[in-house]
Amino acid sequence: MIENLNKIFDSRIRLGIMSTLMVNADISFNELKELLNITDGNLASHLKTLEENEYVKIHKGFIGKKTNTTYAVTKAGEKAFKIHLTALEKMIGSMK
């Protein structure tokens, strides 16, 4: 059971990012920053970890002349998150 828990989701912030991306088709860097209430640097480093594990994909676009970077969850990320979620639920189930 415990082995199904994903080390990458140990961090509350990464868990939060993934939760947000699971229910939104894509979301911008600034929206994520406001939702999680963290600094640019902190968010960027957590996003980098997720990106390196190919759980998150980046799309760089433009709104007018301003760059707009949006993030979306990958198939692999979705699968990993669901496995993690099931493991968490099972742990709670076994505690009762």
Binding site: F9, R12, I13, L15, G16, S19, T20, M22, V23, N24, I27, E31, E34, L35, L36, N37, I38, L85, L88, E89, M91, I92, M95
Partner: protein
């Protein structure tokens, strides 16, 4: 910084970790997909405006020959001119003013709550909510305008309640889920009102006034009374 303090605190209690993780996941999903800053006080304020508006409208009706005279005119459809003469547009002015005042106060209290909770007011969730409320409201507005053009005044009040109810049921997917129940109640009132044409003002006062205040009070009690910040 506070995050790390918090994290180390709950890692001490390993038993609680999966549960808290799940709660965190749920919270983040809700926060990012629903507009949760909608304040209960907005509902109360809108309700008070509606009751005040209904009171003024009632004054106008009484001054112009009382509710029975008003009902005579309303139930005789296709006589737009007579109602216009009768009320001299005062009722529409009151309705318009009430709507603007209620909307303004609703925005104000929701804005204040979003500031307090440090959640941006104009995020993607707010836009989604606005669009999904605006569609049934705009369609209803056009339809009711046509009803008015044909002088079918008796069906305006039930129509307002019905289209507003539909908008709220739709909104339940994009903001606090409880809004849906307020929507069901408005729909029920609107439909009953169809069989009591001419009593629209009472149904309005009930739906836009009393129901808003009850809903707002319950929501405030449930979500804002003991707000952590």
């Amino acid at each position: 910084m506070s995050y790390f303090v918090f994290q180390s605190a709950f890692y001490m209690d390993k038993q609680q970790q999966p549960l808290e993780d799940l709660q965190h996941i749920k919270k983040m999903m809700e926060r990012s997909s629903r507009f949760i800053s909608l304040s209960g006080l907005s509902g109360i304020a809108a309700g008070v405006c509606a009751l005040a508006g209904a009171w003024f409208a009632n004054q106008v009706i009484v001054e112009n020959g009382g509710p029975s005279g008003y009902r005579d005119v309303v139930s005789r459809t296709f006589q737009a001119e007579s109602l216009r003469d009768f009320m001299g547009h005062r009722l529409f002015q009151i309705a318009g003013f009430t709507f603007v005042a209620a909307l303004f106060l609703a925005f104000l209290f929701t804005y204040l709550r979003s500031k307090k909770d440090k959640i941006p007011m104009w995020g993607a969730t707010a836009q989604r909510l606005m669009i999904n409320v605006a569609i049934p409201m705009a369609v209803g507005g056009i339809y009711l305008y046509k009803l008015m053009q044909f002088g079918n005044y008796g069906l305006i009040a039930p129509g307002c309640l019905i289209f507003y109810g539909l908008a709220l049921v739709n909104a339940g997917k994009y903001t606090l889920g409880e809004v849906r129940y307020l929507g069901y109640c408005q729909l029920l009132l609107g439909i009953i009102n169809c069989w009591f044409v001419g009593y629209g003002l009472y149904f309005w006062a009930m739906g836009f006034g009393v129901l808003h205040i009850i809903y707002g009070g319950l929501m405030w009690y449930r979500y804002e009374k003991s707000s952590p910040e």
